[in-house]
């Protein structure tokens, strides 16, 4: 991991509430693995000091690093107004990554909202071999459908309002697909969705990786702010792990699911 002053190549609204920003960050791009994130110092953030963490959506051979984000507070609001040619200092790549399936494992990607951005580099690595289940509240929250189709993925969609695909939660699409052998599930979405998937799949033999993030501070594992419960061999059965270091990608078998 390193810091790199990165020039903004492009920054725009792509659909609904989603924005995409592309940074020229050739040194960071060299060592990115799927599922990792980058910690961005938003230039012009006035008196707020924290970096903002974003999943790395895509990287290019030319050293461009892309992030998809929503405006959810002061930091992302100012980020959305930064212009081409301005610079942000990026810290990364950070965190654990999605582990490629074993040679005979079939990949099922399950994503909610812009969780689809987190699994894109993984999908590229899988060379079209897999199925992706995309879920969102409504059609304007669905992104990257065409991009996954272009990779050759089998795309299944569910929206809570039924405007696209099946009506309901994306997890309701999964049942028929979970009976096969040698499955590997990769999931990214809002935390409640991650824990729901965790509880749903905990008693199966399926190999599951979940991307779970909690609000971060340092991003590198030094401050212990972003912890979540993982299984431990102690009396209480759990301890805290850092979602920026041991995570954000966790294997389900390591996660401590509250009763």
């Amino acid at each position: 991991m390193i810091t790199e002053n990165s020039k903004i190549i492009k920054n725009r609204n792509i659909k609904g509430e989603y924005y995409q920003i592309d940074f020229y960050s050739p040194e960071i791009v060299k060592t990115v693995f799927p599922g990792q994130f980058v910690h961005v110092q938003v230039t012009g953030l006035r008196d707020k000091i924290f970096r903002r963490p974003f999943s790395i959506f895509d990287v290019s051979d030319d050293g461009v690093l892309s992030v998809i984000y929503k405006v959810v507070g002061e930091g992302t609001d100012i980020l959305s107004k930064l212009r081409e040619g301005e610079y942000c200092n990026l810290l990364g790549p950070l965190g654990s990554s999605y582990q490629s399936p074993e040679h005979n494992e079939k990949a099922l990607l399950v994503v909610g909202g812009y969780g689809s951005a987190s699994t894109y580099l993984l999908a590229k690595k899988l060379k079209g071999k897999g199925t992706i289940f995309l879920g969102a509240k409504n059609s304007s929250e669905l992104i990257l459908i065409d991009e996954y189709k272009k990779l050759g993925f089998d795309v299944k969609i569910a929206t809570e309002d039924g405007s696209v695909g099946k009506q309901g939660l994306v997890t309701s699409l999964l049942a028929p697909y979970l009976n096969g052998e040698n499955l590997k599930v990769y999931a990214c979405g809002p935390n409640p969705m991650m824990y729901a998937m965790g509880r749903m799949l905990a008693d199966t033999k399926i190999n599951v990786e979940l991307s779970l993030d909690h609000p971060m501070c340092c991003g590198v594992g030094a401050c212990f702010a972003c912890v979540l419960k993982v299984k431990a061999g102690n009396e209480q059965g759990w301890e805290y792990a850092r979602s920026c270091k041991e995570g954000p990608v966790f294997n389900l078998k390591d996660i401590y699911l509250e009763a």
């Binding site: 707020k48 000091i49 594992g221 030094a222 401050c223 212990f224």
Partner: protein, 305 residues
């Protein structure tokens, strides 16, 4: 090039820049950015007798020019700290100058940890954190009661011959009184300030932003309080002083030296700029050169009143 060699009693450091306890883990993370032995010293995250898991989330929140934290002193406990690869052995392998911050829920806890660390190779000093709650006395911080603070230092003093630094809490009316009392009980040095108690409320949920309700404020917002307290303590006692609180760059550090600090520690700044301590060392060098000072000592306590 000025001479940054820093003499803190028996402790001789290559420069006066340290990293503050709680902001640097046990050195592993930031060692990827620069060699740990470039620093004057590393003050590791507070060690208690047993492993402590820490507080529920949310543990931190951003505030204007700073942050609140209620991490809850999560640490592996003294036994794992001494023997697990990723802690003391790692620090020794990287030739770090290690100052171990210690804490406890009772005075016995402090004494126990000090005894265990007394003869551990590579431990250069202990920093006694008295800003944690005294569980036995209803949770009031050890460091906000003169008699209790005195007792902690006196017990730790009996338990070890290592250089002792007492880290003072700023949440008191007269910090100079605490400085005097801990020095009288055998503290070789003083470090200050720890965090200021604070709180933040989310107006959408109408709940505190921290699960612990209250937390410690750090960052640039507290620097003026820290400098004033360093100045007060420097005028009250003769022992070496390690100043900290909102140091983000060399200019900030110089203020602390002028106020009377012999050394400084960088904390919250690490989260924003992973190379902050290294940038500060070179900035201090530049200030001394630009102002024709040959030695860091030439500016310590030299604020012109």
């Amino acid at each position: 090039m000025a001479d940054l060699t820093t003499k803190l009693g028996k402790l001789i450091l290559k420069n006066p820049v340290m990293t503050a306890s709680g902001t640097y883990g046990y050195g592993k993370e930031y060692s990827e950015f620069y060699p740990l032995n470039s620093l004057g010293a590393i003050m590791v995250k507070g060690i208690s007798p047993e492993p402590v898991y820490g507080n529920p989330m949310p543990r931190v929140c951003e505030t204007a020019s700073g942050m609140l934290n209620a991490i809850g002193l999560q640490n592996p406990g003294v036994e794992k700290f001494i023997s697990n690869e990723e802690y003391m052995p790692f620090l020794r392998k990287n030739s770090a100058t290690v100052i171990v911050n210690i804490w406890g829920k009772s005075i016995d806890d402090y004494r126990y940890v000090a005894e265990r660390l007394d003869d551990v190779e590579g431990v250069h000093a202990l920093e006694i954190n008295i800003s944690c709650p005294n569980i036995k006395e209803g949770g009031i911080a050890f460091g906000t009661d003169l008699k209790v603070a005195a007792k902690v230092i006196s017990e730790v003093r009996k338990a070890t011959s290592l250089p002792l630094i007492t880290k003072l809490s700023p949440n008191v009316t007269k910090i100079a009184d605490f400085a005097k009392v801990v020095v009288d009980e055998g503290s070789d040095m003083i470090s200050l300030i720890n965090t200021l108690t604070g709180m933040a409320i989310d107006i959408e949920t109408r709940r505190p932003k921290l699960a612990n309700v209250t937390g410690g404020l750090s960052g640039a917002a507290i620097k003026p309080v820290a400098i004033k307290m360093v100045y007060d303590v420097a005028n009250a006692v003769d022992v070496p002083i390690i100043g900290m609180g909102g140091i983000f760059n060399a200019d900030d550090a110089i203020e602390f030296f002028l106020a009377g600090a012999d050394a400084i520690a960088v904390g919250t700044a690490n989260f924003i700029n992973p190379t902050a301590p290294i940038d500060i060392i070179s900035g201090i060098n530049k200030y001394l050169d630009d102002n024709q000072f040959n030695h860091i000592n030439d500016i310590i306590g030299k604020v012109i009143i």
